[in-house]
């Protein structure tokens, strides 16, 4: 269980970091989404992993699992979802305005060949 969760977090973080180091908006956005999934699982795991336990105090013989991390994850999910939607819109706006999905301020040679439509 621990191994599975830990490697999932690690793998998603690695993929996310690789993708955000690309210089085009689409991979960067996917990479950011990946990173936020990784951090969501990570926050969840920071309250210790428990199977089949309720998140509230009950008469359950084995006690309960930490409810706070679940609330934190919920907040983090909402925020990262909103932020992803926002950066998609901004990236789309920048692409439509400049006809280029390159991240960075330097002027770039337009790639050769027919330019893809921006509709």
């Amino acid at each position: 269980m621990e191994l599975l969760v830990a490697s999932a977090v690690g793998l998603m973080t690695a993929c996310g970091v690789y993708l955000i180091l690309r210089k085009r908006t689409f991979p960067v956005i996917v990479g950011l989404a990946m990173l936020s999934y990784a951090v969501n699982v990570f926050i969840f795991a920071s309250g210790r992993l428990a199977i089949g336990l309720p998140a509230i105090i009950t008469k359950h013989p084995e006690g309960y699992t930490d409810p706070l991390t679940q609330a934190l994850v919920l907040t983090a999910i909402v925020i990262s979802f909103g932020m992803t939607a926002l950066i998609v819109m901004m990236a789309l706006g920048a692409f439509l305005e400049t006809g280029d999905d390159y991240i960075g301020m330097e002027e770039r040679e337009q790639p050769a060949g027919p330019k893809e439509g921006a509709e």
Binding site: I20, T25, V28, L32, L35, S36, V39, F42, I43, A45, S46, G47, R48, L68, T69, L72, T75, A76, I79, S80, G82, M83, T84, L86, I87, M90, A91, G93, A94, E97, T98, I103, G104, M105
Partner: protein, 504 residues
Amino acid sequence: MNHWIIAPVILPALLAPFIVLVMRHDLSLQRVFSTAGTAVLAAISLVLLYTAANNPPEVYYLGNWPAPFGIVLVLDRLSAMMIALTAVLALLVQLYAIGTSWDARGNHFHALFQFQLMGLCGAFLTGDAFNLFVFFEVLLIASYGLMIHGGGAKRLKAGVQYVAYNLVGSTLFLFALATIYSVTGTLNMADLAVKVAELPAGDAALLRVGAVLLLMVFAVKGALVPLQFWLPATYSFAPGPVAALFAVMTKVGAYAVIRIFTLIFPPETAATGTLFADILLPAAIVTLIVGAIGVLGATGMARLVAFAAIGSMGTLFIAVSQFTPQAITAGLYYLLHSTFATAALFLIVDLLQDRRGNDDLRIALPPTGQHGLITVLFFGGAIAMAGMPPLSGFLGKLLVMDATRGANMAIIWTAILATSLITIIGFSRAGSQVFWKAYATTTTMPKPEGKAEPLAFAVVFALLAGLVLLTVTAGPVTSWLTDTSTELFDKTAYINAVFTPVKE
């Protein structure tokens, strides 16, 4: 419980949706309500400043849940000062935006502005680390909207880069908080301070990882090298008044470092020791150098000011990295100064850009409308920013240098003095290129009038007057700040305030 503590968060939070929903088609109505709201916010913040100066830290329990189970807001001298600074700056910047009609160049300027104020005030007030993250996100999401206000290809590109950079920062913040939570089991700052102090040695390594991640997040916000790359493009392509408001956003990073690393991880903590001071000091010195070289090498006026802002963050973090009451006092004084100086310079550059058409330093253009007036303003702003007498930048740097006598004195003094010289050269080069060379391109005298915009000029004069005031009242201000930093290092007062049982 003093309910006024939450007013700086609630007021803009209610005003912003009200502006969006009720008066989105009427700009003049928006202007009236938004300015009135900011003025009330400034008044409240001054009252809170007065309260905080005469009382020990005061706590507001949201929903009356006792700490550490509920979220708390804490008003102490530092947070009251930061809120007052934000509110006063915001009021001036907003008047400037109205005076130059910047707010008419796109939709929802005033609503976003209020949301930005809500995020800033919340971040300064909160006593809970996760709540700090939430308020960071609020202020960031509003800043994304403000940053691309007015549109344009360049601005949108810079905006995407800024958002991407800060989203990575937010993810890092969550990683840091989760790591710290997994070690200590709490995110309330006062509770963290207690738990970290008595942490078993076996958990220290994990805590150090979390704390350094947290420092990196604040370094992103505070534009500390090597995490400053987002700042020049963002500040130079953002609308002028927005860049001026952003002058207080880098200070959020500095505030968070001061708060977290004096309260939770002070140098005497067994688990972390002087780790953060050892990381911060070299980074701050390099930041200062990068800022100065950037000022010298900038090709545009806005970029020049952006690099000067980076340099001023370097000076500020040098003071903070000492973690002594005297150095924090010096740092806070410099923080006040650099916020006003940066904001004033961004507004002056905006006035120039508006009249000249661009801010490129490499081409000489004929004199513009109000050429002499803008020249004088730039001269004043540059003196303040470079840290020359007689303005407060000089006193600020003097205080910082006085507070850094000790082991690293030779390096710090050399860095501060040498970069001051480079910054002076950079500013005088830019000033002569833009303002003096203008006369070399033409034999005729400047055309009489550009746009009048008396309100905009009044605001810039007010900001410079603020710097003069800060210089004249340096004595009382520093003695007030000394009390502030004494309070910061007296952790027990803060912790006791948070854990006092809830009273009705």
